[in-house]
Amino acid sequence: MLKYKNIFIFCFVSFLSLCSVSCSKILDTQPRQSVDSELAIKDITGLRSLLISCYDGLQGAGYYGQRMMIAPDIMADNLRLTNANSNRYFQERVNTIFTSVAGNLWSNVFAYGTINNLNYFLAGIDNANTNEAEKRQLKGEALFLRGLIYFDMARIFSYEPTKVIKQWDAGIVLRTTPTKDASDANFRQRATVVETYQQIEKDLKESIELLSSTTTRQRANKAAAQAILARVYLYWEKWADAVRLSTEALNTTQARLATGAGYADAFRTSPNPESLFEINYVQATETLGSNESMQSLTTQVTGSWADVVPTDELFNLYEANDVRRAMYVSATKQGERVNFIQKFTGARGPWTDNIPVIRFSEVLLIRAEAYAASGQAELALADLNRIRQRSAATLVTGLSGDQLVESILKERRLELAFEGHRWFDLKRKGRDITKAGLSATVPYTDVRILAPIPIPEIQLNPTLKQNPGY
């Protein structure tokens, strides 16, 4: 029995010593889906992937994947819900208080999460182990994305610089350095809207310098940056700059105006021949599925919601021969006669379509509007009529001044329906938000023109000012 005794003493002592001597070692574990921050972006390969995640940030249904496309139209007069529906955009269609184009953009990862990723990237790229050409290209892409996201947030949460009312000139919180540890996550005030626009302008200008014009139109490129900056100047009402930048964009880009015959097909082509910048979706990994995709929401196929259709007001604006009218198919949904748009038809696989962020025709209309607003009616009409001619619509003649601007705004409705512009177009003009007679007009002085900053953020950060009325 003595030998048992020794064995057990040995067992016990060795277990104890294992525990005490190498305790720190036996508690070492390593995650496999993640790596420590220091390691992750040491190398250009890490930085490249970091930038990829920023494009991924645009894709979600809460941002360009759906909300940014649908909400601005349904919160204004372009779109409505079918009688039988799934409750999606239920509140937005009647502009209930606290609903907004994308108030959640402030608090979800798509916006500020991506901004931080971009800041991480921008902090590391200058010292990256790669050639100058790649550095310039990637840095330009990052600055483009930061400008694009900050501009989207500015137009959701702030008045445009020239349309401020009651001196409420708050912009958004601007960050240009990464949050590497908790101390970086300090409380910040909102910049003024002018400061915000200046930051956006700076980012986009820099990116125009850095980017080349030959890269794929599904990543940031020189023409896309010029076009977005032209859009910024349009909102800023800097007409000359808007004309200049849109002209540069149109000259730089490989995108072209689709023909009338090829219009529908353009939306099923990757990339859309009109896209200066579009977001690509791969069905296997990036589909938003039947619950969240544009296709499911806007067209009637088996398993789709098909909730969102044009208002009669919008539909009746299309002339009979307009190729864009043919983009709608007439159908019956549970006893209700409706027209379904055919811009998002699952061209990239079931429930999967690319999202055009800025198209050639929009850039033309930006330039037309800037010309019109600065008294260059002939040039404005030329651009406007390029669109109308392509669409087989009657050409506009003899208009100038406000009437011409109205005509261009109407053209934007027709051309850019379901692409997320109508609310912003009315807002940047300081107009009341009309609702096609389906519910009460939202006056421009109403609190609902600006999205509420998420309440938890206001409760947390005493220096952060809520938009008026919430």
């Binding site: 799934s86 409750n87 196929v301 938890p456 947390l460």
Partner: protein, 998 residues
């Protein structure tokens, strides 16, 4: 085998007798039990004052040579009272041993294999014996604890057979870390949570409840602190049945029965729904000031979409997905052995069909528990538990349009299930486009889990009172989930059908080594334990999905046209510990226990990886004092106090690190992105508990029970300190907040009547608890709206509903000044109640007379507010694209109507008003209930009949579960957690069964 055993013991006896051959007298005899007259093998027979002795053989017989001067023999046996008998001139001594029932019932397991007499306990421990839930048709033992253990709140998360459950020991102490207790099955620390992704599941399903001898819930710090960093939420020790030496006993039981819905939602018929819809369409036009033609068109539009009220046909969708379903269990066990080797062997089969079509639970279990005593010094214990469980689930609980329990009530009722040609009517119109009968029929949601919870222990006595124990425990589970979506279902057809296969493995093992010293020095009794422990858990998941199947006959991934995703996760954590515990008592009168444990966990920050936990407790057995010894009606009175600090380590495995994680992809390139801000100081949550208790027994234990009062401060709570989201991160984990739970628990067991063969026994327990958030992150008095300093956790934060304006039928709410508002804003929200109950308990009455027994068990909870999220969907005046409850017929129709139901207006939004679907106090209701949880009527066959049938025991019984519920809650099931939405409700069950022993 019986023959072999007998041969062995004869050999054994012969060897023993050889050793004592020099003696000069031989005594023989047989030893039987006073209980049932059975022969007792392995009884120790010793000549008093010597070491000369033997043990009885399998037939209970002994033969002992004794010295001529021997006068007395001592007969002792575990579980029986030791008996001394004078030898006199007898050469034959037949003995009847009295069972020591009191001793058996009062042994309590306190952790690391230490069994302690209840009289010596100083901590707060709730014990539930396996016999209390034997043959109860539950899939996991945690359900059986409901209402039977004071201070332990059990809440079903799903009524799915085998579905998930939450267990809270003395309330909810943590906000962000886990609140689950530590489960230990025969020393194996098992991983908790669900395994299957295809239906609600519970990892504890692998243990057959009928294999359980007892469950101990260690509630206060003193009892639980031996488990240190894992003990803050309490510890549940499960001890399975082990063999008893003696003739091999077989037990067989069979149960058959059925389940049926307790109730379904009372929804509008198609006629009623179409009527309300039409009103809504007309009312909408009225608010727009439309002309008569437009109004007529609107009425027609409603009829087109929802049917003409006069002619529309109704379909009762709920009756198509709910059913009466079968439940059956078979159990067989054998146990026996001799003094050296004992075994318990059991197998079981359980089929529980769910009340919703196509959902079921099937389980087979096998158990072998073996104890072997190699010598007086060396013994082994092995437990092998195996199980395989197959669950066919419905889509999980929640608001999913293809979940049958959710959608069947909400589908527009003007649509039939089948077309005229017998095919499924699909897709349906309305928000609920899935035909649930079709999608359940053509969607496979199957989870198969194979699991073992097994262990091996070696005990070695260095000295008669110094024991070394080495233990290894293994909890290994493999789960395979199959989801197949047949392309015949239109919604699945878009992608050509889809198959998803997931494989999950959990490898969780622990080992511990303990030294236990116990000795009585006269009036001083010492029991000291020291040990070390290591535990490691690794979880891996691999998932693959393919789309595009030729048809429903091809279901494997290989048949998929397009591989869609392959993904996987891996996570692991480890914990290493040293611990010691010393128990001391003086004459069993003054008792003390001290515990110390040092833990290190891989989950915590590099600078804060180790923690020291401790507890101390004192007991005073007043009934042992001279001044109470003469008070005849008191047979037990003991005071206990304890204080201790335990830890909670249930946080994410890598919560302390700064991490970059996967960041999606774009243009087929992979992305990475910062996913977490690290905190090197992240450490344990602490639970500081003070407990005072009183155990009592009066009138010869006719009345027994206990009262415990406790206060627990959970400190250094792992709270996400909110960061401004513009930083890119929502939060960072820190140890900051404090939550206090305090409460009082009463347990009373009484023998009300025991006369003339009639016995009425009552056991009652009730727990009152009070939860309060004491502090949060520095400078903050709230996190969001649901966690506020000075309030209980579980806040329901909504505006108050004020009913309907009698003048125009609009919904009204109260604003912050209690004035009427039509569109409540943030400041108008207020606390509508708390989801944590103020009290809960159970009441069991057992009546027995001449073999007949009736058990009636009530259980309930009180003072909580439930959020009826089903109501949110189904009480909005039929203004959205789905059906509503019949309560909506009380809608406002004309000026002067006083009602809570606003007038229908299509879309649900009156001009200038918030939506009718605004969350408010309209959906908060009292969640208090009392439920007749179980009633069992049984008959034990009398021994005369048993003898004729050559049986040891036989029992026939009928029982019912969830028979009656008393509640004002209007949703489906008040027992389900906080916010009822699409929850698989619990069923009513009726069972009949037979159990026999031979």
């Amino acid at each position: 085998m019986k023959q072999t055993l007998r041969n062995f013991s004869v050999l054994f006896a012969w060897l023993l007798s050889y050793a004592v051959m020099a003696q000069d007298r031989t005594i023989t005899g047989t030893i039987t039990s006073s209980d049932d007259g059975s022969k007792l093998p392995g009884v120790s027979v010793v000549v008093k004052g010597t070491t000369i002795g033997t043990a009885t053989d399998v037939s209970g017989s002994y033969k002992l040579n004794v010295p001529s001067n021997a006068t007395t023999l001592v007969f002792s046996y575990v579980g029986f009272l030791t008996k001394e008998m004078a030898i006199g001139n007898n050469s034959t001594l037949d003995i009847v041993l009295e069972a020591d029932s009191k001793l058996l019932s009062e042994v309590v397991i306190t952790g690391y294999g230490v069994a302690q007499n209840k009289r010596e306990l100083t901590g707060a421990i709730a014990t539930v014996k396996g016999s209390a839930f034997e043959n109860l048709p539950v899939q996991s033992f945690d359900r059986a604890l409901q209402g039977r253990a004071a201070g332990v709140q059990i809440t079903g998360l799903s009524g799915q057979p085998g579905g998930a459950i939450t267990v809270r020991v003395r309330g909810t102490g943590s906000i962000n870390a886990g609140n689950d207790p530590l489960y230990i099955v025969d020393g194996v620390q098992v991983a908790s949570g669900g395994l299957s992704g295809q239906s609600s599941s519970n990892v504890l399903n692998s243990i057959n409840p009928n294999d359980i001898e007892s469950i101990e819930v260690l509630k206060d710090a003193a009892a639980a602190s031996i488990y240190g960093a894992q003990a803050a939420n309490g510890v549940v020790l499960i001890t399975t049945k082990r063999g008893k030496s003696g003739k091999t006993q077989f037990n067989f039981s069979a149960n058959e029965g059925f389940v049926e819905p307790i109730g379904v939602l009372n929804v509008l018929s198609a006629q009623e729904f179409a009527t309300l819809k039409q009103e809504g369409f007309v009312n909408r036009e009225l608010t727009r000031g439309s002309n008569a033609a437009t109004i007529a068109a609107a009425r027609q539009a409603s009829n087109n979409s929802f049917g003409n009220p006069a002619t529309v046909q109704n379909t009762d969708w709920q009756s198509q997905v709910y059913r009466r379903a079968r439940v059956r269990t078979y159990d067989i066990s054998a146990n026996g052995g001799d003094e050296k080797t004992k075994f318990y062997m059991a197998a079981s089969y359980n089929l529980s069909e769910g009340q919703i079509i196509k959902s079921d639970f099937t389980r087979g279990t096998f158990r072998l528990n073996v104890d072997h005593k190699a010598s007086n010094k060396l013994s082994f214990e092995a437990s092998l538990g195996l199980s395989t469980t197959t669950q066919n689930g419905t889509i999980s609980d929640g608001a999913f349009t293809n979940s049958p329990q959710f959608s069947s009530a909400l589908i527009l009722p003007n649509q039939p299930v089948y077309n005229d040609d017998g095919t499924f009517n699909a897709p349906l119109a309305g928000a609920f486009s899935f035909n649930p009968v079709q999608s359940v029929t053509y969607e496979t949601r199957k989870g198969v889990t194979t699991q073992t919870v097994s262990n091996l222990a070696v005990n070695y006595y260095f000295l008669p009172n110094l024991k070394y124990r080495a233990f290894v425990g293994l909890d290994y589970a493999n789960n395979r989930d199959d989801n197949y979506r047949d392309p015949i279902v239109p919604q699945f057809g878009v992608t050509g059908g889809a198959a998803t296969v997931s494989n999950r493995t959990t490898l969780n093992w622990n080992t511990n080594h303990t030294l236990n010293y116990f000795k009585k020095f006269g009036v001083h009794n010492i029991n000291a334990l020291a040990g070390a422990e290591y535990r490691q858990e690794v979880r891996e998941v691999v998932t693959a999905q393919g789309q595009g199947f030729p048809n429903g006959l091809f279901t494997t991934l290989a048949a998929a046209a397009r591989p869609i995703t392959t993904t996987g996760t891996y996570t692991t954590w480890r914990i290493a510990s040293l611990f010691t515990q010393v128990k001391y008592d003086y004459k069993e009168k003054y008792l003390a226990t001290a515990t110390l444990r040092y833990d290190g966990s891989s989950r915590f920050g590099a600078d804060n990886r180790y923690g020291l936990f401790y507890a101390g407790s004192l007991g005073w057995s007043l009934s042992q004092e001279d001044f109470l010894k003469d008070v005849s009606f008191i047979n037990e009175l003991k005071l206990r106090v304890s204080y201790g600090v335990n830890g909670n380590a249930q946080i994410a495995d890598f919560a302390s690190r700064s991490l970059f994680g996967l960041g999606g992809q774009y243009l087929d390139l992979p992305g990475i992105a910062p996913s977490q801000l690290g905190n090197k100081n992240l450490g344990w949550e602490l639970a500081k508990t003070v407990n005072a208790g009183l155990d009592f027994g009066f009138w010869n234990s006719r009345i027994t029970g206990s009262i415990d009062v406790y206060s627990r401060r959970n400190e250094r709570l792992l709270l996400a300190r909110q960061l401004p989201v513009d930083s890119g991160f929502g939060a960072i984990n820190e140890n900051v907040g404090v939550v206090r739970n305090r409460g009082i628990e009463f347990v009373v067991n009484t023998v009300n009547i025991d006369a003339g063969g009639f016995k009425w026994v009552t056991s009652f327990n009730i727990s009152f608890q009070d939860n309060k958030v004491i502090s949060l992150n520095e400078g903050r008095d709230r996190i969001g709206n649901n966690i506020q300093v000075g309030k209980s956790l579980g806040i329901l934060w909504q505006p108050s509903y004020a009913g309907v304006n009698p003048a125009d039928g609009r919904s009204m709410w109260y604003d912050s000044l209690d004035n009427i508002t039509y569109s409540p804003v943030a400041r108008d929200f207020r606390i509508q109640g708390y989801t944590l109950p103020r009290s809960f308990g159970g009441l069991t009455n057992t009546f027995s007379y001449k073999g007949f027994t009736l058990d009636v068990f009530f259980q309930g909870q009180f003072g909580n507010t439930a959020f009826n999220n089903n109501g949110f969907f189904m009480e909005n005046s039929a203004t959205s694209g789905w059906n509503n409850l019949r309560s909506q017929l009380a809608r406002w129709q004309k000026p002067g109507d006083i009602t809570w139901v606003p007038r229908p207006i299509e879309g649900g939004v009156e001009p200038g008003s918030a939506s009718v679907g605004t969350f408010s106090s309209k959906q908060t209701e009292s969640g208090s209930y009392i439920r007749l949880k179980q009633a069992t009527f049984a008959y034990n066959l009398p021994s005369t009949l048993l003898n004729r049938l050559k049986l040891r025991s036989a029992r026939v019984f009928v029982q019912g579960l969830n028979l009656l519920t008393y509640t004002s809650y209007t949703g489906l099931d008040p027992e389900l957690l906080t916010a009822e939405i699409g929850t698989y409700p619990q069923a009513r069950q009726f069972m009949a069964g037979l159990s026999i022993g031979f």
